[in-house]
Structures are given as structure tokens and as C-alpha cells.
């Protein structure tokens, strides 16, 4: 099996304006690698939602993307506050984002459900006070 192609990004938590830059970069790379628009859209939307979440809730983090023969794996890791109730957080419309975030067009409580919707597998490892790691897979 050939070596997977890997991308790594540090997501700046201080800067809402630059949030999403990693996802834009991944989208561009996948396009260059010749993947179908459908696959590219799934990966980039899921990653973009996750990136925005890291900036809104966790003061940034690290994003890693691994392109394998049969799947694309996206790993988003932060050392933020953690998610106290994952089941609740997965409900459409549930959000803990503050009003200033809503004024920026986010925090509708659609991020996590949307990430699940656009990917084939999603796993949330989270511990309150320690951080959250979300692993998503899109099958090729």
C-alpha cells in the first residue's frame, strides 16, 4: 500500500477572520489530487465546521488530514474545555455559542450534526477540562 498523503495545520484560536484557512487549503489539495467534487465537498465542509468549532469553543487546535487509498481521515484535536454532554451537543439546534458568535453567522447548533452528516464515520473523544479530539472518515 502506498504511503498516505498527510497534511498538518495549526488552527489559530485567536483569529476568527482566518478560521477555515486549513479547510480551504485541504479543499485545494484534494482538487489538485483529482478527487470528485462530491468527496471534496464532504471532506471540506466537515473539516470547516470542525475548524470553526475549535476557534469558537477551544481557542484553536491542530488539524490533521490523511489521504489513504480507501478513505480520507480528518483528525481535529484541541485542548479546550471539552464537551460535557456529547449526546446533547449532537442534537441539531443545540449550541453553547455566545451571542457574539451568532452575530458572526455561526452557533446555530448545526456544526457537530453536520460533521456527522457529511462523513461516513465520526468519533468524539472528549474530557471536560482536558480537550476534545474528533476523528472523521470519508470513504473513497
Amino acid at each position: 500500500m502506498p504511503e498516505p498523503i498527510r497534511f498538518h495545520f495549526d488552527v489559530d484560536g485567536e483569529n476568527f477572520t482566518s478560521a477555515g484557512e486549513a479547510s480551504v487549503a485541504v479543499k485545494k489539495k484534494l482538487r489538485q489530487l483529482g478527487y470528485s467534487p462530491d468527496i471534496i465537498r464532504k471532506v471540506s465542509i466537515a473539516m470547516y465546521e470542525g475548524e470553526i468549532n475549535m476557534v469558537i469553543h477551544a481557542n484553536g487546535g491542530k488539524a490533521d488530514v490523511e489521504v489513504n487509498d480507501d478513505e480520507i481521515v480528518i483528525i481535529l484535536a484541541d485542548t479546550g474545555p471539552g464537551i460535557p454532554n456529547v449526546e446533547l451537543a449532537m442534537q441539531e439546534g443545540y449550541s453553547t455559542a455566545r451571542d457574539n458568535i451568532r452575530a458572526l453567522g455561526f452557533g446555530a447548533g448545526m456544526g457537530l450534526p453536520n460533521m456527522k452528516k457529511y462523513t461516513d464515520e465520526m468519533k468524539i473523544d472528549t474530557e471536560v477540562g482536558v480537550g476534545t479530539t474528533i476523528t472523521m472518515k470519508v470513504y473513497l
Binding site: 480551504v24 465537498r41 470547516y48 465546521e49 450534526p113
Partner: protein, 117 residues
């Protein structure tokens, strides 16, 4: 509908993307909530919004949209215009309010062409 037609119908000023004006689009969506655009939109080529920040451009890019209309004559930031140029998007601003702009485009057939076909 050609993007040029959208510009004409909405009396909009073009801010960038002149080279894409003859592209066709089939549907549009209108929202200030980018979360909802990411969650509910499918194959709409045009985004009408009154929200002004760089995430508007990135959201449109993620959704493979081709045209963004800023309503209520709001003035997008320089960064938004630069990002739109970089992503090959048409960016325009219209004096119409979101409700009016949506109504004008809908009445002209945008978003109904596929359904009526």
C-alpha cells in the same frame, strides 16, 4: 439564469468576478446564518446575505457556490473582496433588502427552473 441577469435584476454593483458573469446558476439561498447555509443548502449557486465577514466567502467556497450578493447596500470588507477574488467568486452588492432581493430572483424564475421542468 446568467449571473449578469442577477446583477441587472438586483441593480447590484459588481465588486469582483466580472469574468464569471456569463456563468449559469439554477438556484439561490438567503441567510445570515452561515451554520444553516452549511447544513441545509444543496447545489445553490448564489448566496444572498447581509452578513459581512470573511466566513461568508469561505462558506460559499465550501458549498461550491459561484456568486455572493450582499444586500441592503452594505459594504464588504477589503478582505472579503480579496478572498472572493482568490476563490474565483462573483461578489456584488445590491440596495435591495434580503426579502425583496430573494423575491425578485424567485419571481424571475431562479430556483424554479428545475422544479418546473
Amino acid at each position: 439564469m446568467k449571473i449578469a441577469k442577477i446583477q441587472e435584476l438586483l441593480g447590484a454593483d459588481l465588486l469582483c468576478g466580472e469574468e464569471y458573469l456569463d456563468h449559469d446558476v439554477w438556484a439561490a439561498c438567503c441567510s445570515d446564518m452561515m451554520s444553516d447555509v452549511l447544513a441545509f443548502v444543496k447545489d445553490q449557486g448564489v448566496l444572498l446575505t447581509g452578513l459581512l465577514n470573511s466566513q461568508v466567502i469561505r462558506t460559499a467556497n465550501m458549498m461550491d457556490m459561484v456568486c455572493i450578493v450582499i444586500v441592503r447596500n452594505k459594504v464588504p470588507t477589503e478582505e472579503m473582496v480579496e478572498l472572493a477574488e482568490e476563490h474565483g467568486l462573483v461578489l456584488m452588492r445590491s440596495p435591495l433588502r434580503a426579502y425583496e432581493a430573494s423575491g425578485v430572483l424567485y419571481a424571475a424564475g431562479l430556483g424554479r427552473e428545475v422544479a418546473d421542468a
